[in-house]
Amino acid sequence: MTSTATTIPHAAPPYSGPRAFVQRLRHGDEIAHLITLTFAAGILLITSLLVWELWRTSYLSRTKFGWHFFWTQTWDPIFDNFGALPFIYGTLVTSVVALIIAVPLGLASAIFLSELAPRKISDAVSFLIDLLAAVPSVIYGLLGIFVVVPLMRSWLGPLLINTLGKLPGIGKLFAGPNYGVGFFTAGIVLAIMVVPFIISVSREVLLTVPREQREAALALGATRWESTWKVVVPWARTGIMGSIFLALARALGETMAVTMVIGNDPKISASLLRPGYTIAAVIANEFTEATGDLYLSALIELGLVLFLMTFILNGLARILIVATERGGGRPA
């Protein structure tokens, strides 16, 4: 989309060539253009520098471990032997748990806000949800340590072990012992943190669905729920997927809240109730203690991995959201 400003014809230059440039320079237009351009290019420069620095400083680890870095489980700073698998596992598992909790909750709330609630209530609730999104992550961590962890230890954990833990198959996911800290606790805290993002993006996408779609469904005799679930939501599904990817990217990169409740133990365990570790958490905990160059380099390579994961997800999310808001309809 071009801005309104660029569609306005430029004050017609009386001359062409170098004299015209000097003329415009005197007016200051070119200078202003160049100055703002420099700052804009600065963003490009900074971002490229960021990627370059991550690449450069992870050199030691990349050359020493190669692709083995991604599927070895040892994390041994004393013998300088580093593998990323437990952290990648922890990051993915906590994020998936978070999404399993947050997506139904967020989507339902977004449906309520866009389809049922009167505009005023919907706006007021969205306002509160925006505030919720502004709460700093360390506060979520604080509440995680002192509220969610004790709750998990004394009530929710035993409950899960005694109900879901007894089932064949998925019972393994909820096998004891129950520590209070662990993948599941981190997942709960992350879910609370990403729900506001799912709600606000999904609500906006749902609001772009044309009225006629709902009216047509209702006129055919569908109930309100049927029109929502079978017409409106499918119409907006690409955008909703986008909001989920956005939430996933945030969950993957979240540091403080997770560090405070995951238990910080680089192990891969089937049970969600066990302590684990995530990429962001290990960087936060060990970066200042990393004594050797290789140790530091391995941590930075983890940062690079995290960066790439979020980069890909954010890119996908953006494409999906833009596609829905522009065209809507039923993309293949």
């Binding site: 991550l54 967020g106 309520f112 509160l128 509440l143 960066f307």
Partner: protein, 284 residues
């Protein structure tokens, strides 16, 4: 048969719609739960000395976080100094000067920078500010926070500039103003309210950031003597105090949490109310 189906559909309708309402209600109630819990716990531990005293040595009770409050302010002003000008200028470029391809690249990069996990921003600041001089510093922390301010400011500035009607620009140009004069004296002042609120929101967002400060600004139990020394900040203090084994530190963590949350939420509340009143601009 048909009747049973109808009853089923109707009751499904009622049940599912109620559930969506319950979901929305429970999400909103989390906000009040957080607020209530912090006020309950933090309020009890909050005292005058929290704002005026330095942290006491381990084992002694009492003391405050005056240095962390000042530290957060110093870090935020640095972040503003670094992030706001770049964000503002780039926003002006995108809204007023930008062409097609280059603008797309800048916009995309800005989104990319916005999505970078804060801990990775911390690594970046560490490798280009801390590593060369070999020690943690206020500057490094401010730099890291400034990086995070940039993308938010760019987006809000661009959006508010675009909301200014083209007729305003045409009017100024018809009176003979050049383009930059139009922007500087007509467009920017008209959008200034929104742009400033956007900036404040950006600062409120980074005020609660902890991860990028852990190994840039680090922390400090005393007053930080200069810009090149490590400095304490509220979020990092909350983190260290919360994971420490001392009850008194936990109480102080709650108090610090309440102060931080109050600052961030009040800034957000004020900004968003001002924006909502000023027109129907999409929230940032």
């Amino acid at each position: 048969m048909n009747r049973a189906l109808l009853i089923w559909r109707k009751s499904l309708n009622v049940v599912m719609l109620t559930l969506t309402g319950v979901a929305a209600l429970s999400v909103v109630s989390v906000l009040f739960l957080i607020l209530g819990y912090l006020i309950w716990h933090g309020g009890a531990s909050l005292s005058w000395s929290f704002f005026t005293q330095l942290p006491k040595p381990v084992g002694e009770t009492g003391g405050g976080m005056a240095n962390a409050i000042v530290g957060s302010l110093k870090l935020l002003s640095l972040a503003a100094l670094i992030g706001l000008p770049i964000g503002l200028m780039a926003g002006v470029y995108l809204a007023e000067f930008g062409g097609q391809t280059f603008s797309f690249v800048i916009r995309y990069t800005t989104d990319l920078l916005n999505g970078v996990p804060s801990i990775v921003i911390g690594i970046f600041a560490y490798s280009i500010v801390v590593l060369p001089v070999k020690h943690f510093s206020t500057l490094a922390g401010g730099f890291a926070l400034g990086m995070m301010v940039i993308p938010i400011t760019v987006r809000s500035t661009e959006e508010f500039l675009r909301a200014i009607p083209g007729t305003l620009r045409e009017g100024a140009m018809a009176l003979g103003a050049s383009k930059w004069k139009t922007i500087a004296t007509v467009v920017l002042p008209a959008a200034s309210g929104g742009i400033l609120t956007g900036m404040l929101l950006a600062l409120a967002r980074v005020a609660g950031e902890t991860a990028p400060l852990l190994f840039t600004a680090f922390s400090n139990r005393y007053w930080s003597p200069g810009w090149a020394q490590p400095i304490a900040s509220l979020p990092v203090m909350i983190y260290t105090y919360a994971i420490a084994p001392y009850d008194d530190w936990h109480r102080q963590a709650w108090a610090a949490g309440l102060v931080l949350l109050a600052l961030v939420l009040l800034a957000n509340l004020g900004c968003r109310l001002a924006l909502n009143r000023g027109g129907n601009v999409r929230s940032v």
